[in-house]
Symmetry: C2
Subunit: 682 residues, 2 copies
């Protein structure tokens, strides 16, 4: 690796973090390049330097009202557009030329303004992408008009009474042959579309999902491009009622709203017709085997939002843990003697509370970047219609399955980490300036939107169960991404016994690999058996599926994705392009992540007879051991993951480590009447 590759990465100012920085066994800049390639770092730094100059991004010391917050976010988005980093015409520019950079912009933005990022992602990733992937030329023109005039677009799927269960949504789109129009209608309040971002204020168009009725028959949910507001006056078109959803737990700068359609007419050509169409004379046509598949295919094309969520949560996890690790390195509390106070990072309990999250941040960051790259690649191949393994439906399915579990894993890992890190920074973390509030409140929504985590996990386990069924019927597994081809050896795996007998034995990828493969096989077998018995006794597949989730399918999906994540990380850090000097710490991080995940599932290793009583102690000892090894490197790992101070934006964790000076400046910001005589102390 070219040494000059990291020359554009800025050094940190000297300060109280130097004590641990000097103990690091590697150069943090080299590790940074494992987490992010130079091009991305440069793009982000470029954007962040622009944001810093922008008044819309200035930290507001006052308390902007919700209305003001929404205005500020709009101004931030206008600023982002003004940099011309995105194409003027996203509908004719090939995805190849902008999607990657768009994802980088989203990442750069989300840590600075979560609200702006959410609005941008709803606009591009949910709404415009629907048109790009599923729409026709006329729709692309409409989309383009909105885009170039800086109007936003919304995405309206969720209804007041139905979220996860899309099948039962009630908004209707009835085809009227005479006028050649669809008539959108909201039969009652429960059927009102709700939670749509950009809908409350800034969108002019949107994608609406409605039950399609043609000649009295219902063909299920279809997506329509719908004009919402006049692009000049922003007046809501008549036949539509929109209401902002009011104060929320977070993201108050996002204009989430509900909408009711009252026999609102849109032209026939507004149906997104990639998979199905209605002819002028009212015939429903589709290339798919049944109308029921149309919605699945439509929504199957829209996983880009999930990719964003995975990336966003991975960035937030980094924020939380960097703050807590830096704080732990400068905050002193207790010591063997009164005069020898220890930084709290020295306390074993504190290491154990933080370092698994630090490891998760690193591992999930590497995973998120890599899976996003593959996903984008897949989309690009798909839109260029080149035939390749990356655009087959098997590849898409496996990608969907991975993302359906990766989204729960990252969003939950992030939420847990934020809470633990908040607590680990004690009382000062309760200051808004710590940044934990906005992290917790914005990430919280990610657990729910883009598919409720618990529901998504069911998609992953269903796929695994299907493969398992096939296997039992003699169909070997060979998936494009190869995430579970090992299952072909299921009998051998299931009969294996754990041979680890020392704490060192478990500190190896081989041990983790064997344990995870055994675990997935065991859980799959158990889940499948329970499904069968459940079906036999209830006679209802729905009930049987419902009753295999707890302790079985749910855990299975989590264990599966943890293993996918870990394996991907492991192979990436062993790439030639990873500087050899950071391999050791990367391995340590990977082992800590793997062992911490396994620690949560140990009980199954016992229950299924994989191991003897001692394993639990070996794993726990190994975790503590790795924590103590990581202590000297933790600050450097955090540095490698971190953002510039203005982006991380936490008074507890500036890169100069001058905790108390920074706290003092924060608390005594603005005017305060400090008597002259006291000023010296401050």
């Amino acid at each position: 690796m070219d040494l000059s590759q990291d020359s554009f990465i800025q050094d940190f100012p000297p300060g109280d973090l130097d004590f641990y920085r000097k103990q690091a066994t590697f150069n943090w800049k080299k590790l940074k390049l494992v987490f992010e390639d130079p091009q991305r770092i440069k793009t982000k730094n470029f954007l962040w330097s622009l944001f810093e100059k922008e008044s819309a991004f200035k930290q507001n010391n006052g308390e902007p009202s919700i209305e003001e917050q929404k205005q500020i976010v709009i101004r931030q988005l206008l600023a982002v557009r003004s940099y011309n980093v995105l194409p003027a015409d996203i509908h004719s520019t090939p995805l190849k030329q902008w999607l990657r950079v768009f994802m980088t912009i989203g990442q750069a933005l989300v840590v600075v303004s979560p609200d702006a990022a959410v609005k941008l992602i709803v606009d591009v990733v949910l709404a415009h992408m629907s048109i790009i992937l599923l729409g026709n030329d006329r729709q692309k023109k409409i989309g383009q008009l909105a885009w170039e005039s800086m109007r936003h677009a919304a995405f309206m799927l969720t209804e007041v009474a139905h979220g996860s269960d899309t099948r039962n949504m009630q908004t209707t789109a009835t085809y009227n042959e005479e006028s050649q129009e669809f008539i959108l209608d909201t039969p009652n309040f429960q059927a009102a579309k709700c939670w749509s971002g950009n809908l409350g204020m800034s969108c002019t168009i949107g994608i609406v999902f409605a039950q399609l009725y043609v000649k009295g028959s219902c063909y299920g949910l279809h997506a329509f491009l719908v004009p919402i507001r006049h692009p000049g006056t922003y007046e809501v078109y008549s036949g539509i009622t929109i209401k902002d959803m009011g104060l929320k737990l977070g993201l108050n700068g996002v204009d989430n709203a509900i909408i009711l359609f009252h026999k609102y007419k849109i032209p026939r050509s507004n149906l997104l017709n990639k998979f199905a169409n209605v002819t002028a004379d009212g015939r429903y046509i589709t290339q798919l085997s049944s109308p029921g598949k149309v919605f699945g295919s439509t929504i199957g094309n829209l996983s880009t939002g999930r990719v964003s969520v995975v990336q966003e949560s991975s960035e937030y996890l980094i924020c939380a843990v960097v703050i807590a690790v830096r704080y732990a390195a400068v905050r002193k509390q207790f010591g063997a003697n009164k005069d020898e106070e220890l930084a709290i990072i020295e306390h074993q309990l504190h290491q154990w509370r933080l370092f698994p999250h630090l490891a998760a941040a690193a591992v999930l960051k590497v995973f998120a970047t890599s899976i996003a790259d593959d996903y984008i690649n897949m989309l690009i191949q798909q839109t260029t219609e080149k035939d390749s393994v990356f655009s087959t439906s098997a590849y898409k399915t496996e990608m969907h399955v991975i993302l359906s579990a990766a989204k729960p894993l990252t969003t939950w890992s992030c939420q847990d980490a934020i809470q633990q890190c908040r607590e680990a920074c004690g009382g000062h973390a309760f200051l808004n300036a710590s940044r934990f509030g906005v992290l917790r409140n914005s990430n919280d929504a990610r657990v729910t939107y883009e598919g409720d985590n618990n529901i998504l996990l069911q998609q992953t386990s269903r796929w695994l169960l299907k493969l398992w069924d096939g296997l039992k019927q003699g169909v070997p597994i060979s998936t494009p991404l190869g995430t579970c081809n090992f299952l072909n050896n299921h009998s051998a795996i299931r009969n294996k016994k754990c041979t680890a007998s020392t704490s060192d034995d478990v500190k190896s990828f081989t041990f983790l690999q064997e344990s995870f493969e055994w675990l997935i096989t065991y859980l799959l077998q158990e889940t499948s058996e329970k499904l069968l018995t459940g079906f036999e006794s209830s006679g209802c597949l729905f009930t049987a599926f419902n009753n295999i989730q707890v302790y079985k399918a749910n855990v299975l999906s989590m264990v599966y994705i943890e293993y996918v994540v870990l394996s991907r990380y492991w192979s990436i850090i062993h790439n030639d392009c990873v500087d050899i000097s950071v391999r050791r710490v990367s391995i340590t991080i990977g082992l800590l992540y793997g062992l911490s995940c396994l620690d949560k599932h140990l009980i199954y290793l016992y229950e299924g007879g994989f191991t003897q009583p001692s394993l639990s102690k070996l794993v726990k000892d190994a975790i503590l051991d790795i924590c103590s090894i990581l202590k000297c490197d933790a600050v450097a790992v955090a540095d490698a993951l971190s953002f510039p101070d203005s982006v991380l934006n936490s008074v507890l964790a500036k890169s100069d480590g001058k905790l108390y000076e920074n706290l003092r400046n924060e608390l005594f910001r603005g005017d305060t009447c400090v008597p002259e005589i006291l000023a010296s102390k401050l």
Copy 2:
């Protein structure tokens, strides 16, 4: 039990919750009386009805600024005082006559206005109580003056650089013989007292902890009564700088502030001198064996705050889980057929996510009330100086030990429950009107204040280790509250093997008792051995203690308190005064709580050889089984725990169960320009 005892409990309006209410196997009003005695219910209802009439308690639909929030909270507190439910003279009225009612007021207030409750508790429980328990008559007069003129008091212990580690605090109080004054001084910004509630705006006096220096010798931390503001003009006295701490993650109506003293003089008589005094001519005198014990004894008297926290978190846990259970009973999503949608409470996964928290809410509520009663009783005995077992130091120690673990248990259980319940209510839970935001943000602080949870747990394990040590040296254990007298049988317990072989076997208190007693014994032995080895290898007790926390002492304290809580609950529900008709459901709740706790620690049962592979499945099956049994009763249990609608104050969980009607009213509150033609749908 007199049937008319529940006649004052209002029925619920009819609505969509009736479906499950009708399935309940018991009368919820009878269960309510297990959770709260009639007197308390009446007092709370009385207060809540007053609050409802008070403009200061009206839900503010606008967005009050932080300054306005603080003003509103002050007005709320003035209202509370105006009801004359508290004595006009708390310093001369015996505790017996008002402390119990005060705690009830705190509980009633905290669910309506967390901020007002925090301010009231800081005022009475931290500040005035310090004077009552540790002060002299002159101080009581000063306290009384502030109280009767509705001025507030603050409690200043935490410094910017030191929270948990009080020993290293740096504020000094130097005795000046000539003027017979103490000179309070803040040597630097790190030593500034911080986070004090009531300090930023409303207090006129406060308790300050400072290192006492007399004739050049330091005697450690002592508490002083300190005038802060002029009670007439509210002007801060010169020699003091106060700065509000700005925006926080929550509790923004509380005026937390930092304070710096600049050689600020207070009279000699302002030292709280129950345990130590300084004579006019500068001699330090104490009845305790060493000055080091003075701070311990001082702070040991101030656990009332922790009792409040336990109660508050238990109330918040109730709020969260009642909202989620009611929502689950009316929210429908998915079903075997399109037309047969199931309430989400029917999904096993959903039951499993919620019901353990519902059980925790019930069990912790019963525990909190009971332990608070005992604690208050102890204080009353202590202040009346009657000699009784309840005022011995052994009793006080055990109480302190229980509270040191009960506070982490309840605050964490509550925080977990809030997050799970938020997620369980899907997207609508992200509405501010769901109430989850304020619950999460206010409870979050409780994890940290009144002693950081992780630090507190160490106090509990230390005591257990000390008893264990004694036991090994032949001193049998016999503690006043008897929470671990079973340890006298440690050898027999440790050698026991679990005999459960069916899922029914584990659904018994005997199984739980045996498992918990084994678990505590095992963890105690393991922890003690690790401490010894650690001490032998490091030669440093501090280091050795630091290294026994993870997986050992920390878990030990949690398991100990879970068992204390469960046992107390178990004996209370078997009291004669508990209506026999609700005993069955109370038992079900207790078993679910016990098994859910045990589920988290199962690995130790395997590791220590207590059990065979099958136990884990038995426990998990039993949990799922109990969840399905509880399904019909869950709404009624929630009803029994719940508050009036105006207090619970969640749009997702009004007692009429009219979810969508209530949501609609909430979302279309205020003026909205709905076209006439649409109004019918709303």
